[in-house]
Subunit: 134 residues, 4 copies
Amino acid sequence: MTRPSIHDATLRVRYSETDAQGIVNNAAYLSYFEVGRVEWLRDAGFSYAEFEGCGFGFVAAEALVHYKKAARFDDELTVRTKLAEIGRATLRFEYEILRGEEPITSGHTRHGCVRISDGKAVRIPGDLSAAFEG
Amino acid sequence: MTRPSIHDATLRVRYSETDAQGIVNNAAYLSYFEVGRVEWLRDAGFSYAEFEGCGFGFVAAEALVHYKKAARFDDELTVRTKLAEIGRATLRFEYEILRGEEPITSGHTRHGCVRISDGKAVRIPGDLSAAFEG
Amino acid sequence: MTRPSIHDATLRVRYSETDAQGIVNNAAYLSYFEVGRVEWLRDAGFSYAEFEGCGFGFVAAEALVHYKKAARFDDELTVRTKLAEIGRATLRFEYEILRGEEPITSGHTRHGCVRISDGKAVRIPGDLSAAFEG
Amino acid sequence: MTRPSIHDATLRVRYSETDAQGIVNNAAYLSYFEVGRVEWLRDAGFSYAEFEGCGFGFVAAEALVHYKKAARFDDELTVRTKLAEIGRATLRFEYEILRGEEPITSGHTRHGCVRISDGKAVRIPGDLSAAFEG
């Protein structure tokens, strides 16, 4: 069985996500990326909520956003998410946000796996890691 | 010793808090109220962070906002917060947000005291309650 | 022809909408209400984006939220929106947010119709008003 | 007269900026950076609000965040902002966010200057550019 490596999530821009320039505020794209990776995980058979329920979490280590075109209120966007790298204790996701075929933003985020109880970096649990590697 | 009953906190409107109408998004005022009550508590000698550290929290039960004038990016606002009622297990705060002397919004929030471990409603701890009653 | 009076929109709680209490932050529900009324309008045949394109907008006059149960990350919520009152220049929407059948929050918002160019209150345009009245 | 090249702004973490991990949500740091550059500009003698009033704006082209330590509710943070590069039509700011002396995040943002009326890229107005160059 192969693992899905790319997942498309869709969302519609909310009024509260725009700013006085009339476009989506630059910070909102990091929340869209967050939606993208949660849906990527779900599509790969993992609920991030359950993952946290088991005492593990991912903490952000790095985020990069390239802004290409402005998105606006009510735009329907696709968040295309790909697991780009998986290490012993880290994951890197890549994202493209599209309006139809038009690229709006792209970027990546890198995350470390931690034990929630004490925040210490830990190896990614084996079943998760195996599943990701497909 | 008397307890301060009204506290003025000041904040400056951030770009990310505006929306495409060019004004502060309606939801942002609930975050401003939140800033107001945290600063009210600090002024009364209580750190909400420490309160949570002791295993207690306040959860929102009701919020009301009257919008009078629009605030805009970079406006300096005063969040005037008053503890309006204190019950065995609930608090009610009243707020006025001003730009200089001009009323921008007003409203109130009601909160229940909970034990964080299980989310159950509990009496407001005695020292807190006594202090509030002045 | 009758006008739809109640519309159900669905959304999934994002991580960025939660706070350190582990639940949805109290201010986020006003953004959920905003999603609800935008979808209500769309369902009634009106795009709020186009409405603004014609030079009109709705500004918030009042918002009330009753918090009943806490929603959490990844919960699927229904935002049930109803146009409760329509005046010459104002609208009032009522909302219930549900997790399955379980009530999470309820509330209302009241809005005034304005001309965007100068922010002045104006009558709700006739076609919109007629359509709302069904 | 020399131009200030580094500006320290301070802010206190709001409850609404935290997430269910009990720490500041990764997207919030882009809003903190935004506060940092607005205050940098003010310190350099420019109000971003007035700049927009003259028909110009800066749009985000790129943002990078390195997350080093988690910040928490009520932490007092310093946003240290530096204008790192200035081109004909672009600016690049660098940021460090500190809790006392402890580095929390660092990063940069790049922005293009646009004419608001049509969103077209334009040269940075001469007086602004001259002032920045000190």
